[in-house]
Symmetry: C2
Subunit: 515 residues, 2 copies
């Protein structure tokens, strides 16, 4: 059995049974091995940003990493932006990156590049295999590195000769180190803060935002009156009826500062101290006020669920009853004009039970929270690294992970264009994804930002860099060109009809919402 | 004048008057400055791979660098693959990459990344500006670095506060160091080799493949009988009637080995010793045989044109008459079936005078050489770094550089999908580009490669990674969705008609050629 097959079997034995791929010549032995390895599902992306973003979406929903198969340094480069997002989301990903045979590297052939150098800024673990006999063991270590709390990007570089020479067969899984538990002093400090009688916030991200973690947080809130908040962007939040609702840190700096203005203690669970997304002249980066103390109950790499359980125990709050969200949703508006408000209300009205929602709605989506918090239970996946172009791939990966759930992709137009190729993968795999594509013909958020930096009356040349009309993109045509059914809507009732039909179709479809 | 405007004016004064952009918030001061800087043309790309590939195409034709404007680490990451191609093509590119304000970096905000780390593998020069008062000078140095022979990628990272704080105004251009001249011993060694009476090859790339350089090489060939060859892929070759025709090193290893089998001396002018594109089990990386001597007349960073002139002088060949290519082109075939042969012949028959041809035809295009070498004079731009997804951006940049010439983009379908967003930029800018999109519904070259690695009877799972049908891409629909006129052809006469009409239209258009 050659190195490539040994590696593929190792990944499988370590629990990686989905691989998103965009291979090239140097990965052909791995591709050839796939025919011989039962149980490994391979999903082709026509661009590597689709591959890495889908791996992120998959792992967020499956709770275990997918593999990616990428073609040398440039292929990894194309996947880098969504690996950056995965790194910031703390999602486990196992990248397999092909490389020239070792003897070929000295010749600086066209595709030769510093792959480790490209990998390092987005990877917690990077290794180049040096022989076919080590490939399987390296693969098992890569999976363990990816699964190390809170979830990491691991990149294994596979020279072609280590793939084609004789390997060892599958290696045993490498044990994943358990997340460290926090000591009592951290729990006691959190208890003291939450019982101080001063305004407090419990600021969370990561695993504790699943339903069970939120229920624990709800007990803390019921027992102490603390506000529950999640970071500005989170890899996955359980939301909707029957869950404990949390606020999110607002994106606009002034709004975020106002949110924390009176807060005297922030207790972090997996989250970092809240900071502005961008810096602005004359505005602070830190969002908490002077005199507010920031306490870390548990850092992201620690056992946050255990820390939250310990906090509940220390507060004597095990019997407290969380404030569970009631089912209360808007009706489809009678106002036929499509606006951010009518669109958000329609989404709130029609979101299906147990949906997975991927949110790259950007300027259109900032107001969605109140319209959707009382919808039927669902999971909400956001962009954590700020690099747009994750939405369509994220939906793709989530749908591969959850074939029995409906995926609703809320997608801005400008962002969609970065990884529009994801639609094709959705079509090939027949994924149950309804994409609402919000067409405002602009990088809407940037127009606000241009104003924020003091250019309030921009000229044509500046505006041309922020508006994506002239010509207008026709997403219906683009989607159909990739095999995805699509329709354009210009009124609220059309949106409602298209959304219902799309969700009922069971396959990939796109609704272009003209704002 | 703030740092951003100081930088924009510096770039302009240093001869950079086109900037391909995909900005974000951290670049808003630069965008705002554009309104105030006359003479800087800005071209928006909807994805950064379009931006960097267009900068490459622009510089190949303009002979001077364009700027790029990219959004932090992930934006640079998205542009990385085509910067890899630019690095291998030795094209000058000046990247301006936004960064958080310096004080914001400590907070590890979502978009914070190791930008220098991402830049280094593709850049010969990387710098992060540390104050608004240094930005202009840094910009002038970046341009000089990019223009240093043979052409380099320079990346200047621009923290937002160095853009928004008070700057210095435009800086003076920094002198570009002249390319070193080769000493006489190298010329004498080349003369000895070429006069040895044994089979020789003059192997070239870079600037010497322009018309004047080829004329010099033609004198060398006329005087010594040496074979003239260019590298496998070259940034720009002057071809067609009235030029000196050169062979190119073949891509298939066995064919390349056969090409050099009897050669006893290879004289390099800007080129590297010929090596295989990929390594294969049991085949060598080096393409020259044992007993063949490789001589370097001039390396890429040296003054190759001067070296070639010196060689002509030393050979006493100034008066020699090169073998200029006659105008002789195929007719449009009467065979109506579209095949690689009929397509290549039709292209040869209809290529317009003074065209710029961008070649990412991959498996369809390998046979184009004989059909087009006697066409009217034209320039041929190829992919030098092996990273597919350069074709459409390259055509875009070349058309921006050469508004009075017709650009013919020869484009494989699989490769097109990596940077398909380039079509939108072609539409917005009204560029005179005719794209022939060769639709074979496969990564055609990879199917050969799978066979090459010994998997001659692949199963469904492996084939699914190499075939891009199911669903078939409809490039007519995709192109129209981005504002580009498009038509599908299924016969030779339809192809000829569409190609004539497209070239006559004067604007961007795409012909989907069903193979």
């Amino acid at each position: 059995m050659n190195g490539a097959e040994s590696l593929a079997r190792t990944l499988l034995r370590s629990g990686v049974d989905v691989c998103f791929t965009n291979p090239g010549t140097s990965e052909m032995h791995f591709v050839a091995a796939l025919d011989r390895v039962e149980g490994m599902r391979c999903v082709l992306g026509l661009f590597e940003g689709v591959v890495t973003g889908a791996a992120d979406g998959y792992a967020r929903m499956a709770g275990r990493p997918a593999g990616t198969l990428l073609h040398l340094g440039p292929g990894l480069g194309n996947g880098l932006a969504n690996l950056h997002n995965a790194r910031k989301a703390q999602t486990p990903v196992v990248n397999i990156v092909g490389e020239h045979a070792v003897r070929h590297l000295a010749h600086d052939a066209p595709l030769t590049a510093d792959i480790e150098g490209i990998a390092r800024p987005v990877s917690a673990w990077v290794k180049t295999s040096t022989s076919a006999r080590e490939v399987a063991r390296d693969g098992a270590e890569a999976v363990a590195a990816a699964r190390t709390a809170p979830g990491q990007v691991a990149t294994l570089i596979l020279p072609a000769d280590t793939a084609w020479e004789e390997g060892t067969g599958a290696a045993e899984p490498v044990p994943v180190p358990p997340a460290p538990q926090v000591d009592d002093s951290r729990v006691r400090a959190a208890v003291d803060a939450l019982r101080s009688g001063q305004p407090t916030v419990l600021l969370m991200t990561g695993r504790v935002l699943h339903e069970d973690g939120l229920a624990l947080a709800g007990k803390v809130a019921a027992s102490t009156g603390t506000r529950l908040m999640a970071q500005m962007a989170n890899k996955r939040i359980a939301r909707g009826a029957g869950r404990v609702t949390v606020e999110r840190v607002p994106y606009p700096v002034d709004q975020a500062l106002a949110t924390f203005a009176d807060v005297r203690h922030i207790v972090l669970v997996g989250a970092k101290p809240p900071v502005a997304f961008f810096a602005y002249p004359g505005k602070p980066s830190e969002l908490w006020p002077k005199g507010c103390e920031v306490h870390s109950l548990a850092e992201a790499h620690e056992d946050c669920m255990h820390a939250l359980e310990a906090l509940v125990d220390a507060l004597g709050a095990s019997g407290a009853r969380p404030a569970f969200q009631a089912l209360e949703r808007p009706s489809v508006p009678t106002d036929e004009r499509l606006s951010v408000e009518t669109v958000c209300a329609t989404i709130g009205a029609l979101m299906p039970e147990n949906a997975v929602v991927t949110d790259e709605a950007i300027s259109t989506g900032r107001g969605l929270h109140p319209y959707t918090l009382g919808a039927p239970p669902h999971d909400w996946l956001a962009i954590c690294g700020g690099s747009i172009g994750i939405g369509l791939p994220l939906a793709t990966g989530a749908a591969v992970a959850c074939p029995d759930r409906k995926v609703l992709a809320l997608q801005a137009d400008g962002s969609a264009m970065y990884t529009i190729q994801a639609l094709w993968t959705q079509a090939r795999e027949g994924l149950d994804i309804t994409t609402l594509l919000f067409s405002n013909r602009a990088y809407g958020s940037l127009k606000h930002e241009l104003h924020n930096v003091g250019a309030s009356n921009p000229g044509r040349k500046a505006l041309d860099m922020l508006e994506i009309g002239r010509p207008d993109l026709d997403f219906v045509s683009i989607a159909r060109g990739m095999g995805v059914a699509a329709t354009r809507v210009t009124s609220t009732s059309e949106l409602a009809r298209a959304m219902r039909a799309g969700l009922a179709s069971g396959g990939p479809n796109l609704v272009e919402v003209m704002l």
